[in-house]
């Protein structure tokens, strides 16, 4: 295996991905990601010098519309999906003391 994923890398990816992994999951993730990157490294065989990266197949840019409200007030329905709510607001854990 060419790509060895270090403990630091998997820790860092866990922070980026906002995932908390157990030790066993971390070991599995290191293996899986290493294998996957070995496979993706195949792209390196292709010469892409001077090729423009293509994010979308059609060159659609700057799609604007008038900033007009078209939806109705669905506050109650929206809040009913929230794990916790209070006084018409989403409840979140305390973020500072």
């Amino acid at each position: 295996m060419a790509n060895i994923i270090s403990d630091e890398t998997i820790e860092y990816v866990g922070i980026l991905a906002k995932l908390e992994l157990s030790d066993a999951e971390k070991e599995q993730a290191k293996k899986d990601m290493g294998r996957m990157l070995d496979y993706i490294d195949k792209l390196g065989e292709l010469d892409t010098e001077g090729v423009e990266p293509m994010s979308h197949v059609f060159p659609v840019q700057n799609v604007f519309r008038e900033d007009v409200v078209t939806n109705s007030d669905t506050r109650e329905q929206l809040l009913s999906n929230a794990p916790e709510q209070k006084d018409g607001m989403f409840m979140v854990p305390k973020t500072f003391d």
């Binding site: 860092y12 995932l19 996957m36 994010s55 939806n71 916790e84």
Partner: protein
Amino acid sequence: MSDMLHMTAVELAAAIRAGKTTAVEAAEAELARIEEKEKELNCYVTVDKERVMAQAKTVQKKIEDGELTGPLAGVPVAVKDNMCTEGLLTTCSSRILGNFVPTFTAEAVCNLEKAGAVILGKTNMDEFAMGSTTETSAYGVTKNPWNTEHVPGGSSGGSAAAVAAGECFYALGSDTGGSIRQPASFCGVVGMKPTYGTVSRYGLIAYGSSLDQIGPLAKDVTDCATVLEVIASHDKKDSTSVARQDTDFTRALTEDVKGMKIGIPRDYFGEGLNEEVKTAVLQAAKMLEEKGAIVEEFDLSLVDYAIPAYYTIAAAEASSNLERFDGIKYGYRTPEYEGLHNMYKKSRSEGFGEEVKRRIMLGSFVLSSGYYDAYYLKALKVKALIKKAFDEAFAKYDVILGPAAPTTAPKLGESLADPIQMYLGDIYTIAVNLAGLPGISLPCGKDSKGLPIGLQLIGDCFREKTLIQTAYTYEKARGAFL
């Protein structure tokens, strides 16, 4: 009308219009069928019987009042569980959305409802559409109606199996790397992924936004074209939606391939392709040749690079799209946590399944500083090369013909142990998404175990009609698929 369930969607709508049956009877028949088959197959995550019957009654009244006259009015449909439906549970087959009730309906589903569709329920899928077998669902596996020891394919496995089992007249699926065409192939039904931008993605829970498209799964090519015509629309709520004038797809339902140039990529018939699949697909090509098509082999090139490019791009987009699941506005929140960040991390880790976490981590990595150029940008450049290869092919051919998948449906439990091996099963479908092209899969035979084999036809952007015409001609030549 005891044989009603054997009708196609278009036939049923005609029977309802003619007063031979009603939308209410059709809905009742489907609910009875679902009751009978679900224990065995598990095609649906949610079926709300009261809602179904209420909608069927409303639709029937509108048909009788002459308000609904379209070719699908009154026909019951199943919708993949990644499309939002107002007031109806939408889980994406994930624990993290286990209690999510949308406040709006996806545009494609709205279009169906305006045409008089009766929504039977929400179909099972791979969690967040990540998988090829419908085994990564948090709500149990779906079984293949042709042989319940086998998978239905994925990720739209519930939709494909429901159509095959008569648990709906047609269904909507979504296709990011083959998720309509591959399960259609495994379940012996017709499935189509339209050109990117043809069907609005508004209300489709995003996986890989630059690749996702909604499309029909149906009993035959006529139903498929009819459904696509109804769901295609230019939608200002989806900034990638394309304004098209040529969405009268049913006009292409003609039996004629005389002079049609069909290219068979040699690279689609190499190592890894099952012999029985190969034989059936080439037999289908021969049939089209006999009908007057000009069939030639050619080298498409770059086929082996589509999968690594796809998984880089799809994982990158998924890692970004799935950041919204944070346990605050909707969805699952872990019961015990210490502070905000710990709540995020624990909710996500407990709410997402293994395959989803694997792709989020890979995506976060390929987008991270220091690796972005080497992986993500490289994949976008390869995508440009793949698009160019297709452009060159379509300069010579009207249609590209090949298999939808290298094998027929694998057995349950055989695929998930080796993710890369599973990803390789997408080899013939994935490049179509990268290039934004339309593709259709339709049954062209069965293997020695009696499992269906899918023929895939690929067209240039906006050439759905060419595909529909070719598929329709083949279907007529082939005869009924039983």
